[in-house]
Symmetry: C2
Subunit: 599 residues, 2 copies
Amino acid sequence: MALTLEQLNRATPEQALQWLDGLYEHSPWVLGQALSERPFLSLAHLRHALAQVVRRAGADAQRGLIRAHPELAGPAMLAHSLSAASAREQTQAGLAQCSAEELARLRQLDADYQARFGFPFILALRGPRGSGLTRQQILACFARRLDNPPDFEHAEALRQIHRIAELRLNDRFGAQPRLGNDLWDWHERLAAHSDPGFAEQGQLTVTYLTDAHRACARTLSGWMRACGFDEVHIDAVGNVVGRYHASDPHARALLTGSHYDTVRNGGKYDGRLGILVPMVCVRELQRAGRRLPFGIEVVAFAEEEGQRYQTAFLGSGALIGQFDPAWLAQQDADGITLRSAMQQAGLCVADIARLQRDPARYLGFVEVHIEQGPVLGALDLPLGVVSSINGGLRLSGEIQGLASHAGTTPMGRRRDAALAVAELALYVEQRAAQDGDSVGTIGLLEVPGGSVNVVPGRCRFSLDLRAPVDAQRDALARDVLAQLERIAARRGLRYQLAETMRVAAAPCAPAWQRRWERAVARLGLPVWRMPSGAGHDAMQLHAIMPQAMLFVRGENAGISHNPLESTTSDDMQLAAEAFTELLHQLAEEQAEEHTGKAV
Amino acid sequence: MALTLEQLNRATPEQALQWLDGLYEHSPWVLGQALSERPFLSLAHLRHALAQVVRRAGADAQRGLIRAHPELAGPAMLAHSLSAASAREQTQAGLAQCSAEELARLRQLDADYQARFGFPFILALRGPRGSGLTRQQILACFARRLDNPPDFEHAEALRQIHRIAELRLNDRFGAQPRLGNDLWDWHERLAAHSDPGFAEQGQLTVTYLTDAHRACARTLSGWMRACGFDEVHIDAVGNVVGRYHASDPHARALLTGSHYDTVRNGGKYDGRLGILVPMVCVRELQRAGRRLPFGIEVVAFAEEEGQRYQTAFLGSGALIGQFDPAWLAQQDADGITLRSAMQQAGLCVADIARLQRDPARYLGFVEVHIEQGPVLGALDLPLGVVSSINGGLRLSGEIQGLASHAGTTPMGRRRDAALAVAELALYVEQRAAQDGDSVGTIGLLEVPGGSVNVVPGRCRFSLDLRAPVDAQRDALARDVLAQLERIAARRGLRYQLAETMRVAAAPCAPAWQRRWERAVARLGLPVWRMPSGAGHDAMQLHAIMPQAMLFVRGENAGISHNPLESTTSDDMQLAAEAFTELLHQLAEEQAEEHTGKAV
């Protein structure tokens, strides 16, 4: 019989400790401290309490916890002296069936890893869906993590330990993330469509209106129908729109969604999570035969990343009446115009203007998105509430000095363009850090036609500056540009700088942000407010209606725009539960409003 | 009748001033001060004295001197109110025949230039050979110089003013640089041979054993024969060797020369000057029917730049027995092996070993070379005596951090690989400057696959460190590597660093350096000792015999490995005169030695 949370909350400390024994390998101290915080509202609450104990314990105790774990396919496995849970996990991963060669490779990686970090390599052997990793996946992950910096890998080891505990806890409680697992499967199946040249290498790239992109749209519309949406169609820019009607045909609707296109060699969750989470919630409503006092309109935006054409936010832009016919003449890398790509896909350009939404018919816009950053992971939090989508400014620059012979030009007589960019980059780092929540990045950096023995005469660079509030971003930009001016004057250099993008900050609507906060709190999780450093479709809808976003923790320190982008079924389950909570809140509010009116 | 130096030295100050009137546009103060330093040993001495007056006068007086010059094709020309010399120069350059369009373009450039620098654009309208610049050349130079930093252009204006004075002085004294003009013509004619792909664009590229390269060898050997060398041949690596016999058939020889290959899109003087200067001197000896008590062996080295194959110093290396047969398997960009290129050129690989010289048969090695740096130009000195060829160390590095989202990764959580290189670059600058005569350069700098919105996860760079003494270079390298270690540790980054080249410093033989110093002093010029930052063929010969080098000032702030590399007939004349002085000294020493022996 599986344990229930109620039993755990009511049990004596000794009994509770016994029930949870082995969650953390040879480290019952973690359990003891966490259990003193009973009662738990949810398993998520318990998991967070456990993680907090480890967080507060400090680096030495953490290292002790890490070292309490056995090596993969190590002496303990061979000597059959693993803990029961470890033994089961290592067996499920097929480590006992390693060939001599694989075993030798594992032993070598183990030795290298221990030499570098001073603790054993730890990996949750069941993947995010709960199924086992293959031996190849394990070896690849091992080799990759060997390259991490030590403090990074210390944190990664702890994340893996919490994940192992989470999986073991699910077993004890017979609690499987049903919606999360479905979401996992959907993401996997959607990721099977990838553009030519990437698909062959198992990489995910879905750019606007390619065959893979259109296959995604067909797949999504099919799933929407299967979920029980009342109306499903693909609109004039390729957005997949699903509507789940309200109980009252005149009621307004909640608008939600995100994008299904990807960057080149991107991740499976970026954008798609915000389409699939609402879809799974609507499916559950439909299965329960339930209608809400408001409609739900889920839009899978066709284009957000601006990869094939310079048209970022084409999908959500169309909903706010932002489509410039001049874009139709843009060509992709193969010389295919946007117009002909749209015609080829059967989209009717003349209908785009009609996609503009009337805000009076909507309650507001919400978007679920993977965090794409390391903050939630570092805090052991599965969900975060977005306070504002940062305003951004991008510049493209070139500094000109004088290319000269690296051997014959004395240090005092140089006009080194790259050194000026070096100074600027370090200034940007320090100045952005001063603000606390601004970020500044020189992502492109190049000495064009440089040579080992030539003092750089030119240096090209990009500048990306972001802050939660426009005024803060502008002050940052002012200081950075003034510093560049000073550097160039002091070094006798010239420069050009061109603004390539300016996006206003989109603070989330306070009432809607509070709804997400309540939803997170009802799951038993602490509320963490954070700005979104990345741009999102919600920024577009911001122009015409209130918007608010929910972030979901990403694995691998929140890596994004990268095939390693990932999350777990358990975290996606929580996202779906939070979305459902939000729907409930809205339904209650609508009901109260209705009652109020009736009175 | 042309003036003579003797007349000038003996004249009253008033008379002397009158004779030189107009050398410096509306600025007789320059003349007055310089004349107080009479007597002058040479026109070069007088020119240097004039330049020193301007140098000592300070920036305000210099700006006054610059502003005393008329605009090109400006109001003064149109109103016929130019000084006589300016009027002649502007007329010779055909500025009076400018089309309306050209005049408008000149007026615009003039306006832009004055707005940027606060003084008129000054250009010696007669080219380095004394012939007029074309209007196209003038316009191109104008446009290019508009991009210079202000202090750079201030110095360039002064250099042009001294050059104008030099040309006017030559006219007054009826003194044409006869050898310099011949050298100018030879360089131009040799530069007519250029590799395919470059020749069409008027660019100079002569890489090892191409058709253009072999045409250069044929041209040089033809000229050597015409100069009266007794033996001329092309050796087994393609060096062109000319021998001018001593009066005594058993006497040792002076070895001299430099390379005739070039970098891609390089300059006309790099290397070739050191072949042609000795050639013109031998021609003069032969014309005078003169034999010296030692032979002269001029070698035009076939390969120094390592452009087609990774075989820098192939030509001079062969003379010290440095030829590795493994190199023969190297392929060029088209897959042609060195072996097959040599066979194709009719070179006999088996004979290379026999090219090794027996030091007992040589007095030593001297090399004339264009400076390839800004030092002599900045000091208004046409010649410099090399004290040492700097030791060099080249490294190729990559720093690895963690690529992450530029918007979502807080400043404190980044592993920015480029910022580490930025810190390193600024440290190299400061640390090399500390030594005074060390140089350190990061010439290659790149964030591979970087993107405007991604924190750089990798950064590649090169490191080039040089110093006149190996121990000094090694201390510099130690400090730089230790700093990299600290930066990487502090930022949590990994890095790889590989040494790609290490060349020992080659201090010039003191006795030979003194011979160059005496030769320069006898021309009436101050002796300026300087290390060579660039590597030269003399470094190779250094292994088996004493060596010493003479540097010749380059125009355009000493720019090199660039089509703008240039020098003047007057400076080349001085180089030929210094070489002749060196030959005289050696002859005297040999005679004394002989007499000594006889006694």
